[in-house]
Amino acid sequence: MPLEVWQEQLRRGSLDLAILLTVASGPRYGLAIIQHLEAFTDLVVSEGTIYPILGRLTREGLLDAEWVEGEAPHPRKYYRLTRSGAKRLAHMKEEWRAFAGKIARLMDASERPE
């Protein structure tokens, strides 16, 4: 498998977690989520493709979406974490830490001489 494909799979696999983490501190609208992700990661390749993922997470009941008018010249759609989203996020964080820890240990072991 070429390195780019592996990197793409890694990026895609972590995007749901990154989005849930972004709204964990409070509700954000689409562009604010994208800007937050861009500030901390390089997970966003094409801005327009984040919205369908937000839609899926909303359909899965992990996020709640609400249109807010009057805050800007145009309406904004805010996303907030639901209770079930918070639970899922806690599990995902736990899984991620455990997984990253195992890989880190494996990398350390591979660098030690036999």
Binding site: L15, V45, T49, R56
Partner: protein, 201 residues
């Protein structure tokens, strides 16, 4: 940045193409909401942008960062239609997802063509198994001049030809039909899964 009439029509053009693309596979209310959200994104970006070096370049940059409308539509397709097809594995969502890809992409068209051939072949084998007990003399292995030339049904059977294979053709055709159906179905699911992984973000 305040948009001029030209800039505004460029944005409206983008939203029009996006809406048309989404309309082919999403319910109307979902399309309306998706287009409204993308428009909100564009307005937000335009508001924060400076018209330097000129408005046209600024608008094009914003639209490029968002991605071409067909790509955005494909991402929606991957998240909804294709997601449902891959997750459930049911025939109708799979046919709908492949149909959508066939109408929007070249790879999708050829994949749909291949899958159509697979499903039709499976159907033909099952039809042979079903028709054999009803028309025993017209369904089976067709012999012309004593040589087997085809497997299927012939109405009416021309003089000098006969159908062979007997009733053993029924389990054979059923096994082939079901085997090809399962193979095609798995192929369709694998293709959609590959496509989803290729297009999502």
């Amino acid at each position: 940045m305040q948009l001029s009439e030209t800039g505004e029509s460029r944005v409206q053009g983008y939203l029009f193409v996006l809406e048309r693309s989404l309309n082919t596979f999403l319910p109307r209310d979902v399309v309306r909401d998706a287009v409204r959200e993308i428009e909100s994104h564009l307005r937000e970006r335009v508001l924060a942008a400076t018209a330097a070096p000129n408005e046209r370049e600024a608008v094009e940059r914003i639209l490029a960062e968002l991605g071409p409308p067909l790509r955005v539509a494909q991402a929606y397709s991957a998240e909804r239609t294709i997601e449902e097809a891959v997750a459930t594995g049911r025939l109708v969502p799979i046919v709908r997802a492949v149909g959508h890809l066939a109408s929007t992409t070249v790879i999708g068209f050829f994949a749909a063509l291949g899958l159509l051939v697979g499903y039709l072949t499976a159907f033909a084998f099952v039809a042979i198994a079903v028709l054999k007990p009803i028309f025993p003399a017209n369904v089976g292995i067709r012999y012309v001049g004593g040589f087997p030339v085809a497997l299927g049904a012939q109405f009416p059977l021309p003089p000098g030809e006969h159908m062979g294979g007997g009733y053993a053709i029924i389990p054979f055709a059923l096994a082939c039909g079901l085997g090809i159906f399962v193979g095609t179905h798995r192929g369709a699911r694998a293709f959609l899964s590959w496509w989803r992984n290729r297009t999502v973000s």
